[in-house]
């Protein structure tokens, strides 16, 4: 895959893996409204993934579509950031992940609306409206749990503390990003960091929470170095196509 195809693949993989993770909550969330919310966010992410992965397959030109990329790649070939593959943990940990990611994704899609790749620009313009809802949902819960009971606050702190180490990867730039920017397709993710910090800090202040301590960032997802968690996620997501290759219904 060339840099632009890989760029689309990364966008798709982030959405796909987060969508799959969130769908694990379906039927298990603490309240019906929360269950519906997380399932809806999962659907939005999977919808984005379908568009981005179809585009990546098209750009690659080897006859692979979004389904082939989602269901017939092995763990090392996935290019999602490590944040989205983190296990759901308790509800606070899921919200922490969503909070950090949705604010990033909203800023990212807003910037990508100016991409010279018309399909990426169109997907971004469409998805940014949904992502805005995700960011509000996650922020509301960060405030509710953070400024809630001793128990909810402790869990929110623990959730943020775990997820925080994966935030730097969201803004990390490499050769693929550089080539995509040169082609007018990609954007400077590092430049989103200060807006993201401002948004995150404002919500944390309202939630009476401290920003987690900086720590050594964990990187590697973009080049296929994943945690063990991703393999387990894929065994479930890809089971059917692995057991019955090419099955349709």
């Amino acid at each position: 895959m060339d840099a632009v195809a890989t760029y689309a693949l990364r966008l798709g993989d982030d959405s796909l893996i987060l969508g799959q993770r969130l769908s694990e909550w379906c039927g298990h969330a603490p309240a019906l409204e929360v269950d519906l919310s997380l399932a809806n966010v999962a659907l939005d992410q999977i919808g984005q993934a379908t568009h981005f992965l179809n585009l990546a397959g098209e750009l690659e030109g080897k006859g692979r579509d979004g389904d082939a990329l989602a269901f017939r790649r092995d763990v090392m070939d996935f290019t999602n950031c490590l944040l989205v593959e983190q296990p759901n943990g308790d509800f606070a940990q899921t919200i922490a992940r969503q909070f950090l990611f949705s604010h990033y994704q909203e800023l990212l899609f807003t910037a990508l609306m100016a991409s010279k790749n018309a399909t990426i620009a169109a997907i971004a313009a469409k998805a940014v409206k949904e992502t805005a809802y995700h960011a509000v949902l996650a922020s509301d819960w960060v405030v509710r749990l953070g400024d809630g009971t001793d128990e909810s606050k402790a869990r929110m702190i623990a959730g943020l503390d775990w997820m925080w180490r994966f935030a730097d990867e969201l803004f990390a730039m490499d050769d693929v990003d550089a080539a995509a920017i040169k082609a007018g397709v990609g954007i400077d993710k590092a430049a989103l960091r200060s807006s993201w910090d401002t948004r995150i800090d404002a919500v944390l202040a309202e939630a009476t929470l401290m920003r987690p301590a900086s720590r050594r960032p964990v990187l590697g997802g973009r080049v296929g170095r994943h945690s063990e968690h991703l393999g387990h996620l894929l065994t479930e997501m890809q089971f059917l196509q692995r057991a019955y290759p090419g099955a349709t219904w």
């Binding site: 409204e33 519906l36 919310s37 809806n40 659907l43 999977i46 313009a125 469409k126 409206k129 809802y133």
Partner: protein
């Protein structure tokens, strides 16, 4: 002459589409919802509502079936993502149909500003504005869950998009 035929064909296709209901909200047609962007001589252009809306494929299939059943087998269906679908494209007639069906229509002037300054929904049953949001995410991607404090009934509200 051919121009006249083309116009009348587009009108006939429009009439066919006016009878194709949305699979999730059958009270409104695909035309009411603003899903149909263009009706050409040989193609109908549609746009998905929400990126992840599971009804997208069902909508395309219903449109295909309706076109085929009315003799428009040669009319193709094209899908476009841009410009992105907005609830502002729901027709006034569509808004009234939603209300009658029990779903509060979305406020006009969609977008980020409307999302941040949520106006209160009007209860589709009693018309009161004494309402509150229960959950911003409801039974489908396009709806939020609300409750009327005047008549105590819960109701769906079409989300601004």
């Amino acid at each position: 002459m051919s121009a006249v035929v083309a116009i009348s064909n587009a009108d006939r296709i429009r009439a066919v589409l006016a009878d194709v209901p949305d699979p999730e909200i059958p009270a409104v047609s695909v035309l009411d919802l603003g899903i149909v962007r263009e009706i050409g001589v040989d193609a109908v252009t549609i746009t998905p509502t929400y990126t992840g809306c599971p009804a997208t494929i069902a909508i395309e299939q219903s449109i295909r079936a309706a076109l085929d059943a009315n003799g428009f087998v040669d009319v193709a269906i094209a899908t476009t993502l841009s410009p992105p679908w907005s609830t502002d494209w729901i027709s006034d007639e569509g808004r009234e149909k939603l209300r009658a069906y029990g779903i509060a229509p979305p406020p006009k002037g969609a977008g980020a500003s409307a999302l941040k300054n949520q106006t209160l929904a009007e209860c589709p049953r009693c018309g009161s504005s004494n309402t509150e949001e229960i959950s911003r995410f409801g039974s489908t991607p396009c709806k939020a869950l609300w409750r009327c404090k005047a008549c105590a009934e819960p109701f769906d509200r079409f989300k601004c998009h």
